[in-house]
């Protein structure tokens, strides 16, 4: 599936719910799907600083594609990460770097990605792209 197709799939899932609480039930459900970062990697090295919830993120590079693992101490944050990972994991570095992730806005979760939200998600998206850029440069070298 392309990024666009994956985004469309998530948007359609969320269209099934018109109540906010149901949407959040679904986000909590998604948190269980997140490929978890190794417990040993839950260190400062992989920590994305947010004020209220902590996020850990790592990435690996295999056959030209990037795969993310992550975790958070807050479940809603974790669920949103799961959505981002679901869309971005397995893509080529260029695709990740270029991605707009407009689906987050479309499903009404944009507020979680604003930099002043203090949950670390905005910095996390930046870090996902930084990982991709690093792999791309390494690949070129």
């Amino acid at each position: 599936m392309s990024i666009a197709e994956k985004e469309k799939e998530v948007i359609e899932e969320f269209e099934l719910f018109n109540d906010w609480m149901d949407k959040y039930e679904h986000i909590i459900e998604q948190s269980r799907q997140l490929p978890l970062i190794d417990e040993l990697q839950k260190t400062d090295e992989y920590l994305v600083r947010g004020c209220q919830s902590k996020v850990w993120l790592n990435a690996t590079f295999k056959d030209g594609c990037v795969y993310f693992t992550a975790d958070s101490d807050a479940v809603i944050t974790k669920g949103i990460i799961a959505l981002l990972v679901r869309v971005l994991s397995g893509e080529k570095p260029e695709v990740i770097i270029e991605s707009q992730l407009s689906f987050i806005d479309r499903i009404g979760l944009k507020e979680h990605l604003t930099p002043n939200r203090a949950n670390g998600l905005a910095s996390m998206v930046k870090l996902m792209k930084t990982f991709a850029l690093g792999f791309k440069l390494k690949q070129q070298a």
Binding site: W20, M21, I28, C51, Q52, I76
Partner: protein, 417 residues
């Protein structure tokens, strides 16, 4: 026979009284995500009654001008209203004189003013005593001067229930302790500290006392003469007034001893390049054009409190606190932080191992505003070894019905995890 006690029984406002009070606050009619707003974040800031908004509008539409400077009519009028506001605040906290009331931009600035001015009066090795339940605003300014001038910061610990450890206090206050700066009411735990006792003890030791009343003035009757504190600070926006306003009360002789903090217009007697002499109190500490509209609004907020009656407000909020605490305690897995027998209607809690951020996000979606996180009191979080709490902080316009909505919401959230 026992004489009749004239004190009114503890009671909440009646439904009609509550409705009347709520109708004074236009924002309370708002819907959030299609739900009726339940505003339980009053510790961060309170909503403003219409009369406060009107007073600001009226200032700008009828007598806007700078104060203390013009001979013209409008300037005189603005000056009169602002100085009346000073008297309103003086009476509100029962200061002896109006000139003991200094206008600042908030509690934070009041404390920074004191730290900056005191930094020039202390000697290396002197100690400043604070408590483990201070807001960062009453920690960081002291750390800054300690680092710069070689003073030492000492900290009174807290007990598990959120009370100050008074035995430790007795040991920490020594001949080296030149300043005691403590919060009257904790913004995170709700604890009402026995400040009269602390002040008396400090004075026996020749220690000057600063009280941070940011979370006290809107809930309790304050009498600075009876307390006998040397300084008392608070913000206007937590007491139904505008943001950007604050008060520093100081005993006249104490304020006279302190060097000024900011330089500029209004705070001087005479300026030449050789020497500048400073103005008298309170103007010595009020450099620059003050927040005139805010000060006018703050006085109006105090009129609102006086009109409602601070004792009635305290009774109503005490009833809400009891009701809320009982309902919360009935939920399995609730941990309340701050269980002093003497507290205001602030409840910090955690539910099972659910992250406070998750609870805050979900409450928000149900129209309920609370604060989550460390509430600018990280040392308290370290004390209890928790990442943060959910904090519900109530005010005059909150009701039992809103608490019911909150409890239902919490039950719903509980089922989601």
């Amino acid at each position: 026979m026992m004489p009749d006690t004239p004190t009114k029984p503890l009671r909440a406002f009646t439904a009609i009284e509550s409705e009347q009070i709520r109708s004074l606050f236009p924002i309370l009619g708002r819907q959030i995500y299609g739900k009726q707003l339940v505003y339980f974040d009053n510790g961060a800031t309170t909503q403003k009654p219409q009369r406060v908004l009107d007073s600001i509008q009226n200032y700008y539409t009828t007598y806007n001008s700078n104060v203390h400077r013009g001979v013209h009519f409008l300037s005189q009028q603005a000056t009169d209203v602002m100085e009346d506001a000073r008297k309103t605040i003086q009476e509100f906290i029962n200061a002896k004189q109006a000139e003991e009331i200094i206008f600042t931009s908030g509690a934070t600035e009041s404390i920074n003013l004191l730290a900056s001015s005191f930094s020039q009066l202390l000697a290396k090795g002197d100690e400043i005593l604070i408590s483990a339940m201070e807001h960062h605003a009453n920690i960081v300014p002291w750390q800054m001067i300690c680092e710069r001038y070689g003073y030492h910061l000492r900290v009174i610990p807290i007990l598990d229930n959120g009370d100050l450890d008074l035995i430790a206090f007795d040991k920490l206050i020594t001949p080296k302790t030149k300043l005691l700066s403590v919060v009257q009411v904790s913004n995170t735990l709700g604890t009402i500290n026995p400040i009269k006792q602390l002040i008396d003890k400090a004075h026996q030791n020749n220690t000057a006392v600063i009280i941070d009343g940011s979370q006290a003035v809107q809930h309790l009757k304050i009498d600075v003469q009876e307390l006998d504190c040397d300084f008392y600070v608070f913000s206007g926006h937590k007491l139904y007034g505008p943001t950007g306003t604050g008060v520093l009360y100081g005993k006249k002789n104490r304020l006279e001893q302190l060097p000024p903090y900011k330089g500029g217009g209004d705070m001087i007697k005479e300026v030449s390049f050789e020497k500048t002499t400073y103005n008298d109190l309170p103007f010595k500490f009020e450099a620059g054009t003050p927040n005139i509209e805010g000060i006018i609004g703050l006085a109006e907020a105090i009129h609102f409190i006086n009109h409602t009656g601070i004792a009635s407000i305290a009774n109503h909020e005490a009833d809400l606190l009891n009701y809320f605490t009982d309902k919360l305690r009935a939920i399995p897995g609730i941990r309340i932080f701050g269980e002093s027998s003497n507290k205001i209607a602030v409840i910090s809690f955690l539910l099972r191992d659910i992250h406070p951020y998750d609870i805050g996000v979900l409450l928000d979606k149900m129209g309920i505003a609370v604060r989550t996180g460390h509430h600018c009191t990280q040392p308290i979080m370290q004390r209890y070894q928790i990442p943060g709490t959910v904090r519900a902080s109530l005010a005059v316009y909150n009701t039992r019905a809103e608490i019911d909505v909150f409890i239902d919401a919490l039950h719903r959230i509980n089922k989601m995890f």
